[in-house]
Subunit: 313 residues, 2 copies
């Protein structure tokens, strides 16, 4: 019997005393100059050279943040942009993070029907045993549009392996309301998806929390508060903090009174802190790891000051 | 200026005189015994050995079907199940199909926001120049849940490169109605998604057809007929024919009067024809390629007899 995903996640959050989640979103032209130059002079084909740079960047970022935070969230799209070489780098980064003791949420937003959904689940959701699948993640983000029946294969694999999924409920982009806010019988689509997700969370809960979570953007604080109430057994993944404009105050409602029940993600603001207005005067370009460390500490302190996550300290 | 995707697709349909689309859905335990045995005795790690078997199966299937049909649709999930080695096989199969003159629709059902959506678009949508991206597909399936703004980066890349996307509108699974049928102002969600897709198709049309298409399952023939009328500029991708229960009569409404405007997909029914009740008595296990060929001919004849695609002959 595998250990329940959210129990594992909450143990990691309690250990690190923070719900801060760092996205791993490598983009070649934002990488530190030293990594760009190494790739450009490598003599390898461009995709392979860039993929190596992504792997090195990801692993060095993990070295910095692993002592500080419970979990990381690699964004599959940026690795896939480099083709099979990029996906090899993604798998390397995931495995490296697992060895560093981090929970890994692969942000792939997958979704399909029947046996195809099951293939995605079996591919990415290693759960407790990182080496049990070729990707090795603890958790995957999932798109609900195809229907609740298409979430079931994911839930099954989660329970077997101690893995988790976060289902997209309310995304952080400006146009997220176009379909998600459509109302039927006084219930918006995202509220109905939330209801379905909460039912799955309740059915799979241990210590009050399910293995099925929800993605709810920090850029919609009112909906976040409402959804926390509507989904009391559902762990939340909150993107949109930092570069997308969400503040610590905006995400405060995501937590229970003890500071559990949510992870808050920052990607660009941490990954490329050394290029940001906030940190670029404090750190030389080659001190990009120190900038990442400072930005991570600042995010942890910000969440501790303005949200119930302060109780974890 | 790249050549418009749907113009390329319709040229291929006219050349082959059929809208039949063959899915490439390798699953290890369904593969021909010879390929399973070779993988099991290869001495390589299991994922690499299986991935090689997937690539060989996919390429040999392409050798059989390339003279007969305009396009193939590899299912990303089954390749991803084998990790980075599987994605290498996926890229090989796509490139092999392109070299054989086929249009390739990568079935990845991707979707994300802003620059992340753009990364998926740039990754998969090579469009006219197969070697311009590491995956090299002509076309990708896309999930609309995150909002119409998240479709825009795909549309932009489609126009630049002569590529296409098919947006999920009405999927073929039993539970597809759970979210897709929710009604707001007498319009179901899938009808509203269809309206948004049709607007994008109209804006990007050439010879009456857009580069943005729609996935509409053969298992819902009434909705298919309704959607064809509601989306006159939108090319359709119709899954669910064959193993999932859709018949040629069920998909007849997908076409215009000349037999254009839709491709109809069969995956399992073609890939594993040699294991099916219909063909297993006619072909020995080692004659799996002949079974694929026969099943493809039968599908083409069935569509020609019962749909306007007969006009293409």
């Amino acid at each position: 019997m595998s250990k329940h995903f959210t129990t594992r996640l909450h143990t990691a959050i309690a250990d690190k005393k923070t719900p801060a989640l760092v996205g791993i979103d490598p983009r070649f032209h934002f990488l530190p100059d030293e990594l760009q130059e190494k790739a450009q002079s490598s003599g390898e084909d461009a995709w392979t050279a860039k993929a190596r740079a992504f792997a090195e960047f990801g692993c060095r970022l993990i070295d910095v943040v692993a002592p500080l935070i419970p979990a990381v969230k690699p964004q599959a799209a940026f690795f896939e942009e480099l083709g099979p070489a990029g996906t090899t780098a993604l798998a390397e980064v995931i495995q490296y993070a697992r060895k560093a003791g981090l929970i890994v949420i692969c942000d792939g937003k997958r979704g399909d029907i029947g046996s195809t959904a099951e293939a995605y689940a079996r591919a990415y959701l290693a759960g407790e045993e990182a080496s049990s699948t070729p990707w090795g993640a603890d958790c995957l983000t999932v798109n609900p549009y195809l229907g609740a029946d298409t979430l079931e294969p994911f839930v099954k694999v989660c329970l077997e392996r101690g893995a988790g999924v976060y289902v997209l409920v309310r995304t952080s982009n400006p146009g997220s309301g176009e379909f998600q806010d459509r109302e039927s019988n006084h219930q918006k689509l995202f509220e109905y998806v939330a209801q379905v997700v909460e039912e799955l969370a309740l059915k799979t809960s241990e210590n009050g929390w399910g293995v099925v979570g929800a993605v709810v953007g920090a850029t919609y604080p009112e909906e976040l508060e409402q959804l926390r109430t509507a989904m009391p057994h559902t762990p939340l993944l909150v993107p949109g903090y930092g570069s997308q404009g969400g503040t610590a105050a905006d995400v405060a409602a995501a937590f229970d009174s003890e500071g559990f029940g949510a992870v808050v993600n920052s990607s660009r603001g941490i990954n490329f802190a050394f290029r940001s207005d906030k940190y670029k005067d404090q750190f030389a370009p080659h001190e990009w790891e120190q900038a990442i460390e400072r930005a991570t500490h600042d995010m942890i302190a910000d969440l501790a000051e303005h949200t119930p996550a302060g109780k974890l300290q």
